[in-house]
Amino acid sequence: MNLKDLMKDYFLDLDAAGKDPHQKIAWCTSAGPAEILRAFGFKVYFPENHGAMLGATRTCMDTIPTANAYGYSPDICSYLTCDIGAHLKGFTPLTRAYGIQAPPKPDVLVYNTNQCKEVMHWFEFYAREFKAPVFGIHSPNLLPEIADSHIDTVYRQFKALIAMLEGICNKKLDLDNLKKTVKLSWEASGLWSEVLSHLKHKPSPLNFFDTTVLMGPIVMLRGTEQAKEFYSFLNLAVQEMIASETSSIPNEKKRIYWDGMPVWGRLKFMAELFKKNHTCIVASTYCNSWIYKDHDAADPLLSMAKNYLDIFINRNDAFKEKYIFDTVKDFAADGVIFHDSKTCPHNTNSQFNMPNRLREKGLPSLVINGDLCDLRCFSDEQSTTAIEAFLETL
């Protein structure tokens, strides 16, 4: 199964749905309750993916200033600013990629603050723009552990969301549908997790720059048959790569853990930089973020409530530090590179001294400055020197 075609079908289907008055569209955050929306039959669109597309195509550099001029600070999430700027300019990279004129208009917007509060401001902007209802799941944040009371808070909000969606769709939630989507989500994420675990192999068959692209379906199509099929296919393909000793990086010499967001606009540049230095990024916080191992069709809402609280970004520093340390060992990485992403402090873990704490535990760590989209915050030269000097020390 071809990823390109899968994504194309997804966007064309969304576009068609947007033009069909009988089809409802929901906008959702990347770690939002997509399964509930799909169970109602919504077509689900993810603005963060749009932000990543704007970033990867570097068209964000035209749209971020538009949002800045409109009143959204250059210091806040550049997914938000580039996406809102694109909307204000009437621009979308979907046109060039798929001939789509604009993202589909939402009938409802659903966000979850388990990743950050920015999504609330972002979705509220669109709620005003489209005069559409918006629902926020306000999650307890940065948890040392997931207590029953936390799960209960989210569970009750899911119930309230369901009541609201029943009003919008004028039908009751079909529990079997929900169980089915939760099961599909769990299966796809299990397969994705297996794919990622194959990067433990030496030499690694894939690297971070492959997996940031391959993760598209687990974000945008989780809860569908297509996502499950894609990852079963991918899993087999990667196993074959391992059997034939296919190495993602020719002559792999060093292995790295990447923490934080990708620098979308410099993905190719970075991929080449690491390749040239015979270094494979074998594990990352980012790609591992969509593994919902505890989704349980037998108890869909409660298990979702737990899993969406349990995501890495929503855990406290002690948890994150241990997670990174253990994963580094598990993947036999030689060191950690932290991307200090200027406009996403939430997905940046270097700002509260974690690199020093890891160094003290004997784990070489480097911090590079940059941003997920805003290339004004990134320097090719400085990053190259820092990364190459770091690799020289390993």
Binding site: N369, E381, Q382, T384, T385, A389, E392, T393
Partner: protein
Amino acid sequence: MDVLIQKYFWGIDCGSSEIKVVVCDASGNIIDKRKQPTLFPLLDHVVRALKTDDDKPSPFDSSGSLKEGHIITASGYGRHHIDFASHKLTEIKAHFMGVKKHLGLKKPYTIIDIGGQDSKVITIKENNIHHFEINRKCAAGTGAFIEALAHRLKLKLNNLTTIAEKHDKEMTLNSFCTVFAEQEVIKILMSGEKVENLIHALYKSVVKRVLEMTAITTDTIVFSGGVIAYHTGLVNLFKEQLKDKEFFTVPETQYCGAYGAALYGIEENPCSPNE
């Protein structure tokens, strides 16, 4: 029997303001050194720095081809553009190698390398790079910051230390960003402040920014990099800030990176016993 070929090891430190070149013999003895402003097209100026009109060694023959026995190693921001270099390494490792050879310190030490475009604080432990920090994206704490303000005040760069020595008052520049610092400087001068006090404050601000980059965890500090060569006044300010530390400055600080690059070339090309 193998023919004995004299080997020359060339180190180029292609920095943002100057291209520095050092050539050594196989034992790391410096044969010659030279520099050239970083101008463009870059390669033409790198070649110009390697060639000389006099009888000093050059790695190129009259047709412009690389001569046998000449090994070139490139470092600095421009290293990736020097395609005829056999080896490339970052200026961080190059400075470390230069310092290591110059001083031969066995104890842990910290190299403070203030460059034209960035500054580095490199911690050396067990004779290896243990950790390093490069200043963030902005020019604060680098030569560029000093240059921008000197340019604005129409002062010659190599006069600044002498000017700063004449200060009679302690002042502080608060701004991190060069543009804001310029505004701050203008405001201070408008209020009638002496330029000597201002330059002293400018040096202090560079020292402060460098020390903010990372905690200095060793008892010994080594200065390297081009900026120290022009602004010796910075060294005294570091000494004032880092009391109880022991200080070294490598000879001809601006060539330390190029020298380290040449040494790296030697390390990568161990000579056979008959050479």
